[in-house]
Amino acid sequence: MGLTLLTPEFRIDRDQERCIACQVCVRQCANDSHVYDSEDDRVYSDETRCVGCHRCVTLCPTHAVTVRANPLDFRTNANWTPQKLASIYKQAETGGILLTGMGCDQPYPIYFDCLLLNASQVTNPSIDPLREPMELRTYLGRKPDQVELEEGPDGVQLKTQMAPQLTLDTPILFSAMSYGSISYNACLSLAQAARACNTLCNTGEGGLHSSLYEYGPNTIGQVASGRFGVHPDYLGAVAALEIKIGQGAKPGIGGHLPGEKVTADVSRTRMIPAGTDALSPAPHHDIYSIEDLRQLIYALKEATNYVKPVGVKIAAVHNVAPIASGIARAGADYIAIDGLRGGTGAAPTIIRNSVGIPIEVAIAAVDTRLREEGIRNQVSLLAAGSIRNSGDVVKIIALGADAVYIGTAALVAMGCHVCQKCYTGKCNWGIATQDPNLTKRLNPSIGSRRLANLVRAWSLEIKEMLGGMGVNAIESLRGNRDALRGVGLNEVELRTLGVKAAGEA
């Protein structure tokens, strides 16, 4: 192979006045970006290997190291940007599909940032959540068309038979991230945090590790196209089941866990031979219509005696509203919709950056459609795909979601720096890796504490925002688009989102 035309993405700046050559950076970089020269008693850097994960920067005891974008400039060209050139150089060298991790990083409009929340002034009182009760309790599942009551021995009781419901203390759940794509310690952190916050985590399509069965009541078990790790004990252990049709980062394509990540434990959990690639087909080979989907939903309900909700996860695509309507009619208890910016452990860059629609418009469109058809009560809506803070949670719930899935935000809480190199298996933060040298870097007691802190902080902020709007329950906000106003949006966007422009009363 001749000369590579790729230039380093980052510069590692080492302040030699501060560097004590303690080699913490050398020991911590899984990409070997730092090299110690014992003859010179000096640490040198190889920037071609740096991925910008900041592990060295964070652990350097003298703050001698910093990482910057390489200031190398090409002749200014708004069309042929440096990233586009680098992609071509890379493909000309490898002849392969370019891979990446995490969610779409392209500068498409972010509707969350164009939506503003309302607050009470004079004509309706705001509520102080520190002094008055504020309800974030969320029930996920099919709600009856009407409720009938009857006299019972202990007074009035519910006559209507309720479909199974998931009861959460906060409308924030942890997204599907499989054991295999992330480490055992990351899975354990999520499970422990889900239990501590009385919410749910999601197995992804990697099955449930035998030692995580105790967290089953706080776990949603995925059934995906590869059917990895799906067996009677698994169905029995989890709180709910989720049929995964698609994922926001890569709608329409399957998954591929490279054999190097299929360790003995992953192999046992997924029920596939160790060291073999775990390939999830793009479609479920038994689902080619809503009727087929209905068969799988009811097969799972039958297998779990109709006591567990069965949801369906789809990626937000152009026809998301009619598809969601079909899923509701197929008998799903909830629909999870994953938007354009949803993350992944590995996806072709071109798919991640070009396919799907933003979650904000998808949720608005689905909520509107289901209301128009009079079936909104039949399913709960879970929104996923880059929920970045509590403001996003409140906005998406006002647009019509029942609750949100957080994936990237949860990883960031555990230490992820969104370097987008999950697919390499060399995660320096011990999250997206199975390398025993790296997985031990995530101590689950720290990971779960940080996750629980994040959920607690967001929940407190949500309560403050609700109080400001003068409502005392998250239920009162759901689908209340009047709580939102748009800025910088055109008429079609405002109409699709179902919100008024800022300034309109």
Binding site: I20, A21, C22, Q23, V24, P61, R441
Partner: protein, 159 residues
């Protein structure tokens, strides 16, 4: 008494414990000065043992029945009544290394610079928490009451 325990499952072999131990036992107690200016450079009083992905920080266990104290010919190695720690009075130490010979954990090292003396963990005497524990980025080191875990004598057996 509080003791240092290591959870080797989460030791990431960064050796920040060694680095901060060196700083704590330096003249200036300032990290850049301790490494760049002080000569001789202070020795770390603990050592990170590593083999493959397994690693852990090893420092004096401050045994209930310390063999090093028994073996010390000058009385330099002694049991500190107030803290419960096993300390070495470096002025009294003559560098016979009998303590090193008898220590079952290999936790004592020779300091050959200047007045040679046995160098070992002093639980950061006077500090609320030993610096190795305070600076462990992954909480692999903990400083807790000894009752939290079975006590071990110098033979390494549970009591």
């Amino acid at each position: 008494m509080k003791r240092i325990y290591v959870n080797e499952e989460y030791c990431i072999a960064c050796r920040l414990c060694e680095i901060h131990c060196q700083v704590q036992h330096s003249q200036s107690k300032k990290i850049i000065k301790a490494f760049k200016e002080e000569d001789p450079r202070a020795m770390p009083r603990l050592l990170v043992e590593e083999e493959g992905p397994l690693s852990f920080a090893m420092q004096c266990r401050h045994c209930e029945e310390p063999r090093c104290v028994e073996a010390c010919i000058t009385g330099a190695m002694h049991h500190d009544e107030t803290s419960g720690a096993i300390l070495c009075d470096e002025d009294k130490c003559v560098g016979c290394w009998m303590c090193i010979m008898v220590c079952p954990f290999g936790a004592i090292r020779r300091n050959m610079v200047g007045h040679k003396a046995a160098s070992k963990c002093d639980l950061c005497y006077g500090e609320k928490m030993p610096v190795c524990v305070a600076h462990c980025p992954n909480e692999a080191l903990t400083f807790v009451e000894a009752t939290a875990s079975p006590r071990r004598n110098a033979k390494g057996n549970s009591e």
